[in-house]
Symmetry: C2
Subunit: 274 residues, 2 copies
């Protein structure tokens, strides 16, 4: 498995950071994650733009242009050539002399085989629970997943697939995906504030506008439980129906027609891309 580390292509086992790096010392760094089918990275320009914005938002200078990053990713994909690949770009706070101040960031790009959600996963759908929490600096894709990792034992105990954050009764996002609801009067609604704006989220919004009314706005917990359909979007999940929230069924607890329609359009959109 090949890795790009600062200015070199290395073997996976050589991708090591000294413990003085601010990611290890202070959990300080940004990343982005995209998916490739064979050697074709999906929506790479969007992911690289967001990576650049995350770096800038965290005061981390990025010494490569998006064009250079794109070329490195393509070279990694050429070397790796898995059927489906996850590409992870990371930019850390760098080797800090006092374990607190910024230093020159370390750039690490890794490629690894993944299995994105399939049609079978779509039919099975997801069960989620809600948890009161607001991510710090939510618009930045930082490496801070303290709460998400910490909640894993609770998710296992409740035998569900994921957790949805809310604050003051307003829902926001899952740790690694965005949420949409289809209201009973057939509007597609997704949270607008205090979230990370996913790339799949933006593609779904684009696909939906031609077929239905779309709103980006706050959603109350109550409105979520009362929705006709609920689904999550992410790079690996694509679109997956949510069939229950906190043990309450959504609609008839089966993937709904709007979710299905959008899913088919999204798969078609991906196919065109590849």
């Amino acid at each position: 498995m090949a890795v790009y580390f600062n200015n070199q292509f290395l073997q996976d086992e050589e991708a090591m950071l000294h413990v003085s790096d601010l990611s290890i010392q202070r959990g300080y760094g940004v990343f982005d994650f995209l998916r490739a089918v064979k050697d074709v990275p999906l929506f790479m320009a969007d992911h690289l733009e967001r990576f650049k914005a995350s770096a800038a938002g965290m005061h981390l200078p990025l010494d490569k242009s998006l064009d250079e990053l794109g070329k490195i990713i393509k070279e990694l994909l050429r070397i790796s050539l898995f059927p489906e690949t996850g590409v992870r770009l990371m930019l850390t706070g760098g080797y800090s002399s006092n374990s607190y101040s910024f230093s020159t960031p370390n750039l690490v790009i890794t490629c690894f085989p993944i299995k994105a959600a399939t049609a079978t996963d779509f039919e099975r759908g997801l069960k989620i629970i809600t948890y009161e929490h607001q991510r710090e600096l939510p618009h930045i894709k930082s490496i801070n997943y303290l709460m998400a990792v910490w909640l894993q034992p609770l998710i296992a105990e409740k035998q569900v697939d994921d957790v949805l954050y809310y604050k003051n009764n307003i829902i926001t996002e899952c740790p690694r995906s965005n949420l949409f609801i289809v209201t009973k009067d057939n509007k597609l609604v997704t949270p607008a504030h205090n979230i990370l704006k996913g790339i799949t989220r933006s593609k779904v919004l684009q696909l939906a506008t031609s077929i239905m009314e779309v709103e980006e706005r706050d959603i109350q917990l109550k409105e979520l439980l009362d929705a006709a359909e609920v689904f999550l979007t992410s790079t690996t999940k694509k679109i997956l129906p949510v069939l229950s929230v906190d043990g309450s069924a959504i609609g008839n607890a089966l993937p709904g027609p709007v979710t299905k329609n959008l899913y088919e359009r999204f798969i078609e959109r991906e196919r065109e891309f590849v």
Copy 2:
């Protein structure tokens, strides 16, 4: 500089973590930090107890007893022998196969020369600003300092020494220290909730009870600005007077008599220990 990494003593430059570690992938890990004078670690039992509690609170199994950790630290101090040493214990989420799930934690203990606050630093005092923020899982000493590191450019721009967090008008703590106020009717008050309970904080509370009334409770922002004296406590700061908050002078903007008294008692307490 010597390092202990899992079950080995290594050279500093060998203390490397593979990028799949959950600290790098998800900012997930705990630590503790203590100070040694020559080869004597200060309040080590308290720090080790807290480290153990942080690990348990984060679902991270610690495969060493506190006695074993103490012996490793003493060996590191014997090898290093600086006049003043910082000892940092870290336990990370481990090398994760999917960059999300827990694995066997990595334990890293590093020693490095430090310069704790001096009498001159005490006389100079500190200027701080306030910032609305609540740390996640505040009672655990996790490596999540996203906000603290992110705020450093603001601290530099405002030409102050540190930032004090508050939420809903209640003050809590600075990123790496606890705060105390001395009220105009001569009570020592320090926040009780939503903070990390510092070891120096607990020593100061012990020292203070014999000389004055002490309260652990919520403190409003307004009460802070109206205090006779304000000071911070931490392992490296010991006790440092806060002379201004958000540009407003505290008292006459000089170290106050109560702060001085507690500082002298604390230095004396340390001296006995060494």
